[in-house]
């Protein structure tokens, strides 16, 4: 609860509740709190029934009606504090004639998440030296014409020899699209929903009775059903530390393709873990990658794999790992204790369906998994693959697809 909520006083006598609710909603939305008109309506109605005679009452009434998610609470508290902490908001009818949002402008310093959305994105990524992004992906997607059964569509065959850090944005987009398509071949799981199927093992009573309508309610034809199969969830963790700089952008594109193509949770980590699932789901690839870059504050620092894994397993996203295909992309250079990583991996292995470790250094001819952390993690991985260029990536897709 912010400091303002403890302050006494602040009464609302003749208050235009609708205008008040709309004004507060406006400020909240400017600060990036996702609340809509229906919540403002609930707030206005709440003001009527609660009759807030203390700031704390007002605080709870506003918070419960206007905030809909836990992540918005901090922004809400900031706006509320800014408006009411030293509150003499001109709310009397005279003051309102000068405009509803008149009050103090103190909340200009409240953290405004929406502001980042306007950040210029045409500079490419601020932290990778890549060719300037010129074309949008949308045009790239419409141009895409390839046939499904091919593992590597013709547009990608030219990319065989190019290292990941030299791909331009169009090639990256094509790679992402191909990855999303190829992932359709990945393992599925039996879901609890069922669909009619001639070879089903159960009799679908509802459909059978409906069908019998045609034959004078005589169930001549038995309709059968069987469980639907759904794609397994994919949890992808990508190392964005200094040593992985060359691959980070490509992996971000792959993570974006994954979130769009299937049920997935994606995270970036170096010293801390950042969830990117919601930002990467943006329709435009450039915007998505730019937002993701903004979110990851500790990029190209050190690496703490064990700590990041444990953070994931203990957070409320830890359940997402259950029965999922976990893909970890990292070179295994970890500043945490290898034993800690082994413990985290053991726990991860128990929850996950399969664990795949992608390490670009595996491709080197004289590679040996001698790095302490990688050696500790390997016993808990189903596959260690290289994924340093496009053909290697195709191999990853095929290897995971074999577990169907």
């Amino acid at each position: 609860m912010p400091a303002a909520a403890d302050a006494p006083g602040l009464t609302f006598r003749r208050l235009d509740r609708a205008a008040f609710a709309a004004a507060l909603l406006d400020r909240l939305r400017a600060a990036g709190v996702a609340s809509g008109l229906s919540s403002a309506e609930a707030f206005a109605e709440g003001l009527r029934v609660v009759r807030p005679d203390s700031t704390s009452r007002l605080y709870w009434t506003a918070r419960i009606t206007l905030v809909r998610r836990h992540t918005d609470l901090a922004a809400f508290d900031a706006v509320f504090d800014a408006v009411f902490a030293n509150a003499v908001m001109p709310l009397d009818p005279h003051a309102r004639r000068r405009g509803v949002t008149g009050g103090s402008e103190d909340d200009a310093f409240a953290p405004a998440r929406s502001a980042t959305r306007d950040a210029p994105t045409d500079e490419g990524l601020p932290w990778v030296t890549l060719p300037r992004i010129t074309a949008s992906t949308d045009t790239a997607t419409t141009e895409a014409t390839w046939s499904l059964p091919e593992r590597l569509p013709s547009r990608l065959t030219g990319l065989d020899e190019i290292p990941f850090d030299e791909l331009d944005s169009q090639q990256l987009a094509a790679l992402g699209d191909w990855f999303a398509t190829a992932m359709q071949q990945w393992p599925t799981r039996r879901s609890r929903r069922s669909a009619t199927h001639p070879h089903g093992s159960r009799i679908a009573l509802r459909e059978t009775v409906a069908r019998s309508r045609r034959s004078g309610w005589e169930p001549l034809e038995l309709v059968r059903s069987r469980p639907l199969r759904k794609p397994r969830r994919v949890v992808m963790l990508c190392d964005v530390s200094q040593s992985m700089q060359a691959y980070a952008t490509t992996y971000l594109h792959l993570m974006r393709a994954t979130t769009l193509a299937t049920d997935a949770e994606v995270f970036a980590f170096s010293t801390t873990l950042t969830r990117l699932t919601s930002v990467l789901a943006h329709r435009s690839a450039e915007t998505a990658i730019a937002h993701a870059t903004d979110q990851v504050t500790d990029r190209f620092g050190g690496t703490r794999i064990a700590d990041s894994l444990r953070t994931l397993l203990r957070s409320h996203h830890g359940g997402a790992v259950r029965g999922a295909i976990v893909v970890i992309a990292s070179d295994g250079w970890d500043s945490d204790d290898p034993e800690a990583l082994a413990r985290a991996m053991e726990q991860l292995r128990r929850r996950a369906y399969r664990v795949v470790w992608l390490n670009p250094r595996v491709a080197a001819p004289d590679f040996q998994p001698l790095v302490g952390s990688l050696a500790a993690a390997l016993p808990y991985c189903d596959e260690l693959l290289s994924a340093h260029d496009v053909p290697a990536l195709a191999e990853v897709v095929a290897a995971v697809g074999r577990w169907r």
């Binding site: 609860m1 029934v49 419960i64 836990h70 879901s191 059978t208 009775v209 359940g319």
Partner: protein
């Protein structure tokens, strides 16, 4: 909505829930008061074991209303949550009509006689002085399809059975949804609910809750247990103990007759607090230091 308001204000919610031994802070009291007064569903989120489910149970007890619980799981569908036709009876009715040489029309087969109520329809069709409290527990365990299914009910307190028509609740049921945030809920669903995030209670309130839940425990035991659980939550545990675990622990200690935390029995009861072997070792270590 009932003619009489359920509660006069948030303080009333607090004192009446107090009487059924469920202690709430101002935020929770306001949330429940607003949900009931505005007739909107209430979405409760918070760490496991902070009393989300208990809130609905306590509310039902306070209002003397029946509690209908719907445990969510993946694949929950119309036939388990809303209604189902009794196909066996329908088939029997068809045979019976045949033997009597009667003609059956579709309207004869899809009547309320053949309708089986599931929790949500039961709430909508409930007749009685107080509407039921519907607890939709762990909604994050259900899938998107089920959330979409709930929208009509959450928005209009009605259920549409295509063959029969729309049932509208006489008095809208009191709906409490809980979620552990293991999956992001859809915005359309959040929009239809009031939202409250339950924090882990402050030490003095936690002690008060323990006093109510385990009346047999001694005061010194409760004080030291509250302190220890508070410190345990700062430890690097796989699963930080919640209020539910703390209650179990104090109940276990008091059942074994342990007068204080220093005694031998405490080690044996750590299973109520720690749910993994590593957590148990860490807690045992912390106990020794205490």
């Amino acid at each position: 909505m009932a003619d009489e308001p359920y509660f006069t204000d948030a303080a009333d919610v607090r004192s009446r829930l107090d009487r059924v031994d469920y202690l709430v802070d101002e935020g929770m009291a306001t949330a429940l008061f607003l949900a009931l007064t505005l007739g909107q569903p209430l979405l409760l989120e918070g760490e496991p074991g902070v009393g989300k489910t208990t809130a609905a149970k306590a509310l039902a007890r306070t209002l003397d209303a029946p509690l209908v619980r719907l445990q969510c799981y993946e694949g929950l569908a119309v036939s388990e949550a809303l209604y189902e036709w009794n196909y066996q009876r329908q088939l029997l009715a068809i045979r019976l009509a045949e033997s009597r040489h009667e003609r059956l029309s579709e309207a004869d087969l899809f009547t309320e006689e053949f309708l089986q109520e599931r929790p949500i329809l039961r709430c909508v069709r409930h007749r009685g002085p107080t509407p039921p409290v519907l607890l939709i527990d762990e909604i994050d365990r259900a899938d998107d399809e089920f959330e979409a299914l709930l929208l009509e009910f959450l928005g209009e307190a009605s259920v549409t059975v295509p063959e029969l028509g729309t049932f509208v609740a006489e008095q809208p049921p009191i709906v409490v949804l809980t979620s552990n945030r293991s999956r992001d809920l859809h915005d359309a669903m959040r929009r239809r609910c009031l939202y409250h995030w339950i924090d882990f209670p402050a030490p003095d309130r936690a002690a008060e809750i323990l006093r109510r839940s385990v009346p047999a425990a001694s005061e010194s035991l409760i004080q030291s247990a509250t302190q220890f659980v508070g410190r345990a939550r700062d430890l690097d545990l796989d699963k930080a103990p919640g209020m539910a675990e703390a209650i179990d622990w104090v109940a276990a200690l008091s059942a074994l007759g342990a007068p204080e935390l220093a005694s031998e029995q405490v080690r044996l009861t750590l299973g109520t607090l720690a749910k993994t072997p590593t957590d148990r070792d860490l807690l045992a270590e912390a106990l020794e230091r205490a």
